[in-house]
């Protein structure tokens, strides 16, 4: 109990600090604008401050301005190519953290998106120092919604019973079912309904407030516990640890004590954990092929090793690998030739689109959840929902005698329907694929691979349902 009060006090302080009295009370979130300030894992060069009255400093500054030190690629990362999972794995904790924070690359192998497995596991074992993970927040929200729906259904049922009772009474007094009455009851029911709606609103704000009281770090409740739990307010005075592990009460106090030692320096790695809870992070970051190739080729900050012999793969070999493993089952080895490059390769087409949107500042993530190829986030998934869902559509207008493989309308309809449910705009990214002749000799001169990518043309077409009744003004 002492723990819970101290925690409450801490939360109170945290709540008191921000100066937004007008905005709705919300649990404190990390400052994502600072954490994710860098859109790519490269370092910027900041010139030293100029002191104008010192001519020497001025000269030095001029020198630095003209010949700045090379500092953009100070840290590079290594990954392992995994043909089985069709991804590139990053295992170094610092690299995982960096790649997620600076540009949202990849996804955790045991998480929905951000690699949070270790944090979730620590919290499950009773560590109160670790902040709530996004999965928990989502779950909490869903539980609240479920609760609210249950409550709504209950009230509806009550209302129905009230009406039924009133009608039964009327039947007794009138001596039979009457059709003349309902107009009167109608008005009454409307009033009742309004009352009920107000009640619901109160209930929702109550929920929000109770959430605020506890602060965010509340472990998720299992479904059964939610049912036992009557309403949210009671959550406030129960220590969160007991929720997650009600049976192991003796084990509750040691973890909290331990977590204090546990805190410094080991949020992800867990390497310096002193005593019993030594959690090895079993999660790694998975990069898709386009992500890995973008980091390796375009940015030049990633070296990729092959699994068995741990030798770095050169970029030409990496391209060869990705071309080969772009489909399942992989293409036969002899069919891949860099000098005789086949531009109609799924990896190349996907990469060109990925690169296109990345280079325009979008954070591009896989859209497999919404049956599209990519999702486009402005700044990143922690800031806002994805606004655009991109479908990659190869087009072969330059290929002699090759018919366009157009999809059926129902395919498009189902995808637009799914995406309108989640309020995303579907964008058709038509990629006009060059022919093998178009790209021949690319490796000999000019800009090399960049020239190849430049030969693909991309045209974006945004789709919206157009409703006649909505567009008349």
């Amino acid at each position: 109990m002492a723990d819970s009060t101290s925690q409450d006090a801490a939360v109170d302080v945290a709540v008191a600090v921000p100066s937004h009295p007008a905005t709705a009370p919300k649990p404190k979130r990390p400052n994502y604008a600072v954490i994710h300030a860098a859109p790519v894992p490269l370092a910027l060069y900041h010139s030293p401050p100029l002191i104008p009255h010192n001519p020497l400093s001025f000269l030095h500054h001029l020198y630095l301005y003209l010949f700045p030190p090379t500092c953009s690629h100070e840290t590079t990362y290594t990954g392992v190519f995994s043909p089985v999972t069709m991804s590139v794995e990053i295992r170094d904790p610092q690299a995982v953290l960096d790649l997620w924070q600076k540009g949202f690359w990849g996804k955790g192998s045991l998480s929905r998106s951000e690699p949070t497995w270790l944090n979730r596991e620590l919290r499950r074992l009773g560590d109160t120092e670790v902040g709530a993970t996004s999965e928990e927040i989502t779950r909490q929200r869903r539980d609240q919604r479920k609760e609210m729906k249950k409550e709504r259904a209950r009230k509806e049922k009550e209302e129905l019973q009230k009406v039924k009772a009133a009608e039964a009474k009327g039947k007794h007094s009138n001596g039979g079912p009457s059709n003349g009455k309902p107009v009167v009851t109608d008005a009454k029911v409307v009033v009742d309904l309004e009352e009920e709606i107000n009640g619901l609103k109160d209930f929702v704000s109550e929920l929000a407030q109770s959430n605020d009281q506890t602060g965010l770090p509340t472990p998720p409740l299992s479904a059964s516990e939610v049912e036992i739990q009557d309403l949210a307010p009671s959550k406030a005075d129960v220590p969160p640890v007991q929720h997650s592990n009600p049976t192991e009460t003796p084990a509750v106090s040691p973890p909290t004590a331990k977590s204090v030692d546990f805190k410094p320096g080991s949020k992800i790695g867990g390497t310096s954990a002193p005593k019993k809870i030594v959690l090895e992070n079993q999660e790694h970051l998975q990069l898709t092929y386009p992500e890995a190739f973008f980091l390796a080729y375009a940015l030049g900050v990633l070296t990729i090793h092959s699994e068995p012999d741990k030798t770095p793969i050169s970029l030409p070999n990496l391209l060869r690998l990705f071309l080969r493993y772009s489909t399942f089952p992989p293409l036969p080895e002899p069919s891949i030739s860099l000098s005789n490059l086949n531009p109609d390769n799924r990896f190349l087409i996907n990469y060109v689109v990925y690169h296109h949107f990345r280079s325009l500042g979008w954070v591009v993530k896989s859209g497999v959840k919404f049956s599209v190829d990519y999702l486009l986030y402005k700044r990143g998934p922690v800031f806002s929902h994805a606004e655009f869902a991109v479908l990659v559509i190869p087009s072969y207008s330059r290929w002699e005698g090759r018919a366009e493989a157009c999809r059926e309308w129902d395919w498009l309809h189902s995808i637009t329907r799914v995406n309108s449910q989640v309020k995303k705009t579907v964008v058709l990214a038509y990629v006009d694929v060059p022919t093998a002749e178009d790209v021949k000799g690319w490796e000999k001169g000019g800009d090399g691979l960049k020239d190849v990518f430049a030969k693909y043309k991309i045209r974006e077409v945004a789709l919206r349902r157009w409703i006649p009744g909505r567009n008349r003004d």
Partner: protein, 395 residues
């Protein structure tokens, strides 16, 4: 469901859009578990699930009666408003004997002698809604609705086209064929600009960007990041000193040279604009309607698939650019400078989709954090998703 906008009765029910209702299918899981126990799943506030109260059944009865009453109203034609026309099969137009009524404000066209002619779709539409009586050629034989359909449907360009035409008309829009689709020269000259001023393959837009590169950084570029040997796999962002992220992103841009799309159509008929559509407005003038609000292409799911790149490009080449009033990046990208509405007809069910020419290249995002990003709260954060949509649906 659909009412005639010209008559003024706009049905609120037509505004209900199912796509705005967020559906939750978790309730189906319980049924699957029980092995289809036969009970109706309960969810949401719906009025049509029988709850056994008199209140509900009487409300239902009332609304049913109201509907029957509305349908059973006797429709009369006064002699004063009787409009007649003659179908001319050779010219594939209907000659109006004397035009009366409000419908002619946006339908038909008068020739130099003052005679008004109706297009076949206009004829079917008017006969179908009981506004006009039609006779066949010079025989003075009155035509039934079926006869009008039989005689004039082929000239409308097919059932799908007429279905879309009638749907848009009933919703209140003014609809004309694209002048290129008109077979009679009377309807070919229209009093407005509808073709883009400048034709040709300009769809790819300016491709090479040098934004933000000052003269000094350009100098650095040449000095420090110049070609270091012809390495085909040279990283696009070479190690160096970058003062902001925009410099890095400039290097990541792939300059796409404007390549000529070969005008190969390969026997595949290109899509065309079918209809020009105007929003309903009281002062609409047939003689000078102004530029259309929408360009609609009618497609049938029976014989078409999703449009190819060449087809889309052909469509965008047929419509003029429209300056957007929007300023937000999301809105600009969603609306595009050009847009075409595709009416996809699936055996009578019409689904309209607006294809917009969004040009992501012309709207790169800011990659550098705003200089005063210390607080970071609410700064530069895009507006809440779907805010505009919600406003609309709550109207």
């Amino acid at each position: 469901m659909e009412t005639d906008g010209i008559d003024g009765g706009l049905d609120a029910a037509a505004d209900v859009d199912l796509s705005d209702e967020t559906q939750d299918f978790r309730f189906l899981a319980a049924i699957a578990k029980k092995g289809g126990g036969g009970s109706i799943p309960k969810r949401g506030e719906k009025d049509f699930e029988p709850d056994g109260t008199n209140l509900q059944s009487s409300t239902l009865e009332d609304s049913r009666n109201a509907m029957f009453q509305a349908l059973s109203v006797e429709r009369t034609h006064t002699g004063k408003n009787r409009v007649t026309a003659t179908w001319h099969p050779t010219r594939r137009l209907a000659k109006v004997h004397e035009q009366r009524g409000v419908l002619f404000k946006s339908m038909g066209r008068a020739d130099s002698t003052g005679t008004t002619w109706l297009l076949p779709e206009e004829l079917i539409y008017m006969v179908e809604r009981g506004s006009l009586e039609c006779f066949y050629d010079s025989t003075d034989v009155p035509m039934s609705v079926q006869a009008v359909y039989a005689a004039a449907l082929a000239a409308t360009g097919g059932l799908e086209r007429y279905q879309v035409y009638a749907n848009l008309r009933r919703t209140g829009y003014v609809v004309y064929r694209d002048p290129a689709q008109q077979y009679d020269e009377l309807f070919q000259n229209v009093g407005y600009d509808y073709r883009p001023a400048e034709r040709g393959n300009r769809g790819w837009g300016p491709q090479v960007y040098l934004w933000g590169l000052g003269i000094f950084s350009a100098l650095f570029t040449s000095v420090f990041h110049g070609r270091k040997g012809a390495d085909a796999f040279q990283a696009m962002v070479a190690p160096g000193a970058y003062r902001n992220y925009k410099e890095i992103y400039n290097r990541l841009l792939i300059p796409r040279r404007t390549l000529e799309l070969p005008p190969t159509r390969r026997g595949d008929p290109l899509l065309n604009i079918t209809f020009h559509v105007w929003k309903p407005r009281p002062n609409f003038k047939k003689s000078s309607p102004g530029p259309p609000d929408f360009y609609v292409t009618v497609l049938s799911t029976r014989d078409t698939k999703m449009p190819s790149l060449a087809q889309i490009e052909g469509l965008f080449n047929e419509v003029p650019e429209v300056a957007s009033r929007q300023t937000g990046v999301y809105q600009l990208l969603k609306e595009g400078k050009k847009s075409v509405v595709l009416a996809v007809v699936d055996y009578g069910v019409i689904s309209y989709m607006r294809f917009s020419d969004s040009r992501f290249l012309e709207h790169p995002l800011d990659v550098d954090p705003p200089s005063t990003a210390k607080g970071g709260k609410g700064k530069g954060r895009p507006p809440k998703k779907g805010a505009t949509g919600n406003q609309k649906s709550k109207k």
